[in-house]
């Protein structure tokens, strides 16, 4: 059952897993400027109420963590690898500044983030993640991290350009090399990734070397010394969250909440313990839900800059049965017993965005078929350098119906046209 924010607040849990300061009606966030909440239809349950409060209180929690002496580590772009490493340190917490890309949506554009980014040269030609530049510049929406790491190399041009702009604006970044992931040639020594792809062992060694370098900088900044056992423990914790997400991904949890849950995989919303507690409850409840037979199961490619599109999908007669929100490497279980740096290097190499579009789209298609999708929706991110190549590649591989749409930070002005396209696709 779904409902608006006011009704959703009546479902606030009597026993929340969040501490007192982070509980309460979600309407307070709307009153504080997160206006998008007023235009969403929520899955009405205490567990998802906690989920939303957990998401919306990240800034407060980060500030509290800093006050308690934790070092805040900004992990840019890699979508999941560095946070596992950071969480091996007792004294550090990983934060994902790229998440600022949702701020223009949640604020319904009533924020200076994009105008400020534009004034710094990052105009509409770049992906909405340019909001991050505005957030750093204004020093609002999140505490500026104590250390910044950013993967570079085989990443999208938007982010590579924005990260350099951050450096130029006075935010030093430790860049680490994420090489393009390609299939190994017959004459190269190779390793096999979990996806089945064989890649040159050199790529694994390069990433591993980079991770050791990052660990050295974290040791220095936190005053802790990372050892194999600590990192293995962090990997086990990460696996617990991945296991919960696997349960949620196979459940009938509505699309909007599913999107929010999956996003937690990237950095546990800055608190892996709470993340695990929140997702445990969501998973428990989600497994009791049954899919609405009136809704057509679809596989969704790429995250949406406007979260309301997940509501629109269901209004149009569809539901998510599978996704590739660009970070499948943050969802697959990790090896717990071997060399943990090797495990993380393999994880990074499994980043679907670091490889070829063909390899990613093939995996999307396999996964779509495995989860019973009746069609695939490729959601373009405006300005993102990878998006122009995806739908055509998928069309050349797929025998499933395909729809390509573009989702900006606020879709209200073209929501009727978007609905028509979605409905047409669902009815076909």
């Amino acid at each position: 059952m779904k409902g608006p924010l006011t009704l959703f607040d009546t479902f606030a849990p009597k026993e929340s897993c969040l501490s007192h300061g982070y509980q309460g009606p979600l309407q307070r966030h709307a009153a504080g400027g997160d206006l998008r909440l007023l235009h969403l239809a929520f899955h009405l349950s205490p567990a998802t109420h906690d989920l939303w409060n957990f998401l919306m209180t990240e800034e407060d929690r980060l500030k509290d963590l800093r006050r308690s002496g934790k070092v805040i580590i900004g992990a840019l772009k890699d979508l999941g690898t560095i946070p596992v490493l950071v969480n091996a340190y007792e004294n550090a917490v990983a934060f994902y500044p790229d998440g600022a890309w949702w701020l223009p949506c949640f604020k319904e554009q009533r924020t200076d983030l994009l105008p400020v980014a534009e004034a710094l040269g990052a105009g509409e030609g770049l992906c909405p993640v340019r909001a991050m530049l505005g957030a750093f510049e204004l020093g609002c929406h999140f505490p500026v991290p104590d250390l910044l790491f950013c993967s570079t190399g085989a990443i999208c041009d938007d982010f590579k350009a924005l990260a350099q702009r951050l450096v130029e604006r006075g935010h030093p970044i430790h860049f680490w090399e994420m090489p393009h992931v390609r299939e190994a040639q017959a004459d190269e020594t190779s390793i096999q990734l979990e996806s089945g792809l064989r890649v040159p062992v050199l790529l694994r060694d390069v990433v591993k070397d980079e991770l050791h370098r990052i660990a050295g900088k974290l040791d220095e900044r936190t005053g802790e010394f990372l050892n194999v056992e600590k990192l293995r423990a962090a990997i086990r914790r990460s696996n617990r969250v991945r296991h919960l997400l696997a349960r949620i991904r196979t459940s009938a949890l509505p699309s909007l909440e599913r999107l929010v849950c999956e996003m937690m995989a990237i950095h546990y919303c800055s608190d892996y313990e709470l993340c695990e507690a929140v997702l445990s409850r969501v998973a428990e409840e989600a497994e009791t839900l049954t899919p609405d037979p009136a809704l057509k199961p679809v596989f969704w490619v790429n995250p949406v800059a406007d979260v309301r599109v997940m509501n629109l999908l269901e209004e149009a007669g569809g539901r998510l049965c599978g996704t590739d929100f660009m970070f499948s490497h943050a969802l697959s279980p990790l090896e717990e017993t071997g060399d943990p740096f090797d495990t993380l290097a393999r994880m990074a190499l499994s980043d679907p965005m670091a490889g070829t579009t063909r390899a990613r789209m093939k995996l999307c298609l396999e996964e779509a078929k495995r989860c019973g999708a009746k069609g695939i929706i490729v959601s373009r991110i405006p300005g993102a350098s990878h998006c122009a190549f995806e739908a055509s590649m998928l069309a050349s591989l797929s025998d499933l119906p395909l729809l390509e749409i573009e989702v900006s930070s606020l879709t209200d002005s073209y929501a009727p046209a978007l609905m028509t396209r979605l409905q047409g696709f669902m009815e076909s």
Partner: protein, 272 residues
Amino acid sequence: MKKIAVLSNVIPDVWLEGQGITLVREAECSQHEPVTLRAGMCGYLAFLPALLADVDGVVLTTTCDQMRRAAEWLDADDRVFLFNYPSTLHQECLIDAEKARLKGWVAQLKLRSNLQHERDARVCDTRTHGQQDIRQVADHGRIAIGVIGGHFCGERQAVENFFAQRGVQLALWGCEGGESVGDVAQRPNDAFYEHLKTLVTQRHLAGLIVVRTTWCDLWRLACVRLHEVLDVPVLEWVMDGQSHGQPFPDSTSRTRLEAFCELLQAQCQEAP
């Protein structure tokens, strides 16, 4: 002799010397029929299918995401080589490994039979000739400018002529295929800006034009930074290609470039 287009300045000629191949460094866009692109794709890609038909192989690099994606978009695995070029300075071992792989690919390419048609040398050695021309005329006392950027979707000679007609000399051609101006994609890329500052001083450039395609994010923001760090005027020139039979440059670009030339001339007259 096999003809290979190497479309990135991070791969210097010397890496391919002695391999018995003819190097092509830039697509002569006016000679190639462009294909229609999807929104979001770099305008230069429109010319690559025709270029690929005209050469034996194409080498692209991962320095730019558009080129990384284009390598598979061209759908000719055995004739397209994607060089995995690092964006940082601490993994240069990748370069050594990729150099060896490139050498192997060239050797394989040479083993294959020649294309049926004999090609002329129209695109050969354009890089060398272009550099000589520019350097020969750089000190004749006229206002000197530089043009830098990513892949240029037009003809360098046409640009040179355009400026010459307006009393401005092109003293630096730093687009892909031209003189190397450093690696804009390196992170961080302070060295790139420092190198450009030096070039501007050494070449006595009165202004710099940064040319890019609509969807080129790296040069878009590099241009913003160049405005901040250079002491000379900087103009952004967005160019996605030139239609066959149409005048070069298009009317909007022409107006912008002419205004820029006039600005530089006025500044030059005002200078003591």
